[in-house]
């Protein structure tokens, strides 16, 4: 399957370039986000009946991990409301660039932090507190509000979308997984960029702003850091930017050699397995440890969690990266081969999420009618009883996702190993073993 340029269709192109459709989506998203925060803070403390828990951790999460990421890569980033208030402040406008730009600091993000380690840490922080976070409305409310204020604060100090690019816990993993997606934004012709003066795609123009993701569109070869905000579509004077449909995981043909991304893959793979065991397993003592933050049991849980992710899984993987000559080459090889864990991790999360989403989706109907637990019945569905949905497809769906993911990761390992000139077999064996463990945890 070759590339299909979607923006060749003028309706699609105009819809993406025009700021109005995007603004409409933004307003709805931001209203929903703020409503959710309020619901979390003043609504019922019972998570399953509060809009914030139901619509963030069930509805939004389901759409994110089952649809948005696999099919649209960073598609969520394109509509996410978190950067918006800060960005509007930073830009001094909500539509096209104003004549007089506001004077914010617009500092460059510090060089030492120009990686995804902060995002690795922020995701892990949420993960370690996840049992409390996923079940407690006011905690999720505080976290969502915190992210909003952090984004606003960072926008007044640093240039572009500093929160999104370097801090957001969600952006960390959807960036990594967006490499598997079947859509991309790329330039059409390299020569055009070579002779372009001013590079408005990066520096902005009267039609739009320079890339908020601190990416030079002319050099985009992977989806990882492009947030699909469409600014470059607006600023490029040569109509050299296209949104294409392409084969799945095209980006993984040239795997990244960065360690921060490699460890992101382990963080995601490991946490999916730990969540499957702790949250969906029958072992009450693990759930107690995960929930009772601050107790010694929780500290042990956190220590085990972190050592699985930073010690156990990477060390075994390192054994599969055969042939050690010198550290630098080894690190590159390690990172390259860890690309195999990207499609695997995505499918692990799909399989895990299918379970709790299908089990609890019925709460969505009730929460639509009574989002705050105040006794409303807006759409008549407030009394919907909890009932797991589509349970017959769950096990087959999980098997399909996991075995499919395994095949996908084996193929990725094969291609990456070719690049690194080593055998793919140990890495494929590793993938098989973790897949077997995940199958056992979920089925």
């Amino acid at each position: 399957m070759a590339k299909i340029e979607l923006t060749r269709n003028t309706s699609i192109k105009n819809a993406l370039i025009s700021r109005y459709p995007q603004l409409a989506v933004f307003v709805v998203m931001l209203m929903g986000y703020i409503f959710a925060i309020l619901a979390g803070l003043v609504g019922t403390p019972v998570g399953s009946h509060n809009f914030i828990i139901v619509f963030v951790w069930i509805a939004w999460w389901a759409i994110l991990i089952l649809v948005a990421v696999p099919f649209f890569g960073r598609g969520w980033c394109a509509v996410c409301p978190i950067p918006l208030p800060g960005e509007w402040l930073q830009r001094g406008a909500v539509l096209n660039p104003p004549e007089k730009k506001p004077k914010w600091f617009n500092l460059r993000w510090p060089k030492a932090l120009r990686n995804i380690w902060l995002q690795n840490i922020s995701f892990l922080l949420l993960a370690l507190f996840s049992s409390v976070l996923l079940t407690t409305p006011n905690i999720t409310g505080i976290v969502l509000a915190g992210m909003l204020f952090a984004a606003i604060g960072l926008s007044t100090i640093f240039e572009r979308r500093a929160f999104c690019r370097y801090l957001c816990p969600v952006g960390g993993f959807i960036g990594l997984y967006s490499q598997t997606a079947p859509i991309e934004l790329r330039i059409k012709d390299k020569q055009v960029c070579a002779t372009c003066e001013g590079k408005p795609c990066y520096n902005g123009s009267t039609n739009g702003y320079g890339c908020p993701w601190d990416v030079f569109p002319g050099g985009l070869t992977k989806n990882t850091y492009c947030g699909l905000c469409m600014e470059c579509l607006r600023t490029c004077p040569h109509d050299n930017i296209a949104v294409n449909m392409r084969p799945f995981s095209a980006d993984l043909a040239k795997p990244s050699t960065r360690m921060d991304e490699a460890f992101k893959a382990f963080i995601m793979l490991g946490s999916a397995m730990i969540y499957a065991g702790v949250l969906l397993g029958p072992w009450g003592v693990l759930k107690d440890a995960a929930y009772n933050v601050g107790t010694s049991a929780w500290f042990i849980y956190a220590a085990v969690f972190l050592s699985i992710i930073f010690l156990v899984m990477p060390s075994f993987f390192a054994l599969c990266v055969t042939r050690f000559e010198n550290l630098n080459i080894f690190k590159k090889r390690f990172a390259t081969l860890s690309a195999a864990l990207i499609p695997l991790g995505l499918m692990f999360w799909v399989a895990f999420s299918l379970s709790f989403v299908l089990t609890n989706a019925s709460y969505i109907l009730a929460s639509l009618s009574d989002p705050l637990g105040l006794g409303w019945n807006l759409f008549g569905t407030a009394q919907t009883t909890w009932q797991p949905m589509l349970t017959t497809i769950l096990a087959p769906g999980q098997t399909l996702a996991l075995v499919g993911g395994l095949i996908w990761s084996a193929r990725t390992a094969q291609k990456a190993a070719n690049e690194a000139k080593v055998s793919a077999i140990p890495v494929i064996g590793y993938c098989l073993i973790v897949t077997a463990v995940m199958l056992w945890l979920l089925l």
Binding site: L30, V42, T44, H49, V94, D370, L374
Partner: protein, 331 residues
């Protein structure tokens, strides 16, 4: 500024005000009564005002686990108060006074402490009828004194056998409620010493007399009251081994450690109704008194404001069925 920019800003601002204002506004307009486990605060608010004749509309929600709501000494069906959902209840009072509302679904070891009051004002306040004096007070029973029966039956007494035995005996003196309420089974056993029945046969007669002082309907009522209110501590089979018995014992040990100078610490473990020595030495009025008054520092609740007299007598009658075989009675 261009018009499109201005309009967009207005749209955004309006949207945000809506998103913030709507939940806040409706939240302030919706007074709810929040139910929480006693450890988390219990009922909030826990005092409600009402007027005689004016229907009182209450909206109840639970903030944690399954709770229930009912008002003591009133004829009403309890309603469930579910987590995250709102239950509507309308109450009408025809007499003023202070009513107790309470949780009706077990929500932890301190479930019984989840109580509040409804202060009903209105005509008919004066004169208040004199409160009935409980029988144990009139009789001068010391509820906390031990009441061991010196003799206990070798086997479980049977009311059916007792009935057959009693046909030859003069039982009218014992079959009236006054005798039944004021005497313990052991005292009736003693009163039968003039007969030439064996010990077990005498106990059979006692059990028959005890059964004749109640009805199958009352025993069923008592059984249901016991299951809903007592079994969690006292055990589903009356053995003092309910699911909270361990927690209560631990609480007892803890408070024993902190009390200074207390020698006769009251037992914190729930009473075992299968303990013949204790129960056969207890008169119905004594048991009624314990239920009315509660346990003075133990985990035993006081039920005086919750149960009607009839309910407590039914419950007391049922308690003896842990001792006696009331064949035909729903066990």
């Amino acid at each position: 500024m261009k018009r499109s920019e201005l309009l967009s800003r207005i749209l955004i601002t309006a949207g945000m005000l809506l998103a913030v204002g709507t939940p806040l506004f409706f939240w302030t307009q919706t007074p709810l009564i929040h139910a929480r486990m006693a450890e988390n605060g219990g009922w909030n608010p826990d005092v409600i005002q009402a007027e005689v004749g004016n229907p009182l509309h209450l909206r109840l929600t639970s903030d944690d686990v399954m709770h229930g709501f009912s008002v003591g000494q009133m004829k009403m069906d309890a309603v469930d108060v579910e987590p995250g959902k709102v239950t509507d209840v309308t109450l009408t009072f025809d007499k003023p006074g202070i009513y107790t509302f309470f949780c009706t679904r077990w929500c932890g070891v301190n479930h019984w402490r989840m109580r509040g009051t409804i202060e009903v004002s209105g005509p008919g306040a004066n004169p208040e009828p004199a409160p009935t004096i409980p029988l144990y007070v009139t009789l001068g029973f010391d509820l906390d004194a031990p009441h061991e029966s010196p003799v206990i039956p070798s086997n479980q007494p049977s009311a059916v056998r007792g009935q057959q035995l009693a046909t030859n005996l003069e039982m009218s003196k014992f079959s009236n409620p006054d005798f039944y309420r004021t005497n313990s089974p052991y005292q009736l056993f003693e009163a039968l010493s003039s007969t030439n029945l064996s010990d077990l046969e005498k106990w059979d007669v006692v059990s028959y007399i005890w059964q004749s002082n109640t009805t199958p309907k009352a025993l069923t009522n008592g059984r249901d009251l016991y299951a809903q209110n007592c079994a969690a501590c006292h055990g589903e089979n009356g053995g003092g081994d309910g699911v909270f018995a361990d927690d209560l014992a631990k609480a007892g040990e803890a408070s024993m450690e902190s009390m200074t100078g207390a020698t006769d610490m009251l037992m914190q473990t729930p009473v075992d109704f299968t303990d013949s020595k204790r129960i056969l030495g207890a008169a119905p009025a004594l048991l009624q008194g314990k239920i009315l008054r509660g346990g003075m520092g133990t985990g035993m609740p006081m039920w005086g404001s919750i149960f009607t007299e009839e309910q407590i007598w039914d419950l007391v009658a049922y308690l003896y069925s842990f001792q006696f075989d009331y064949q035909g009675e729903a066990q």
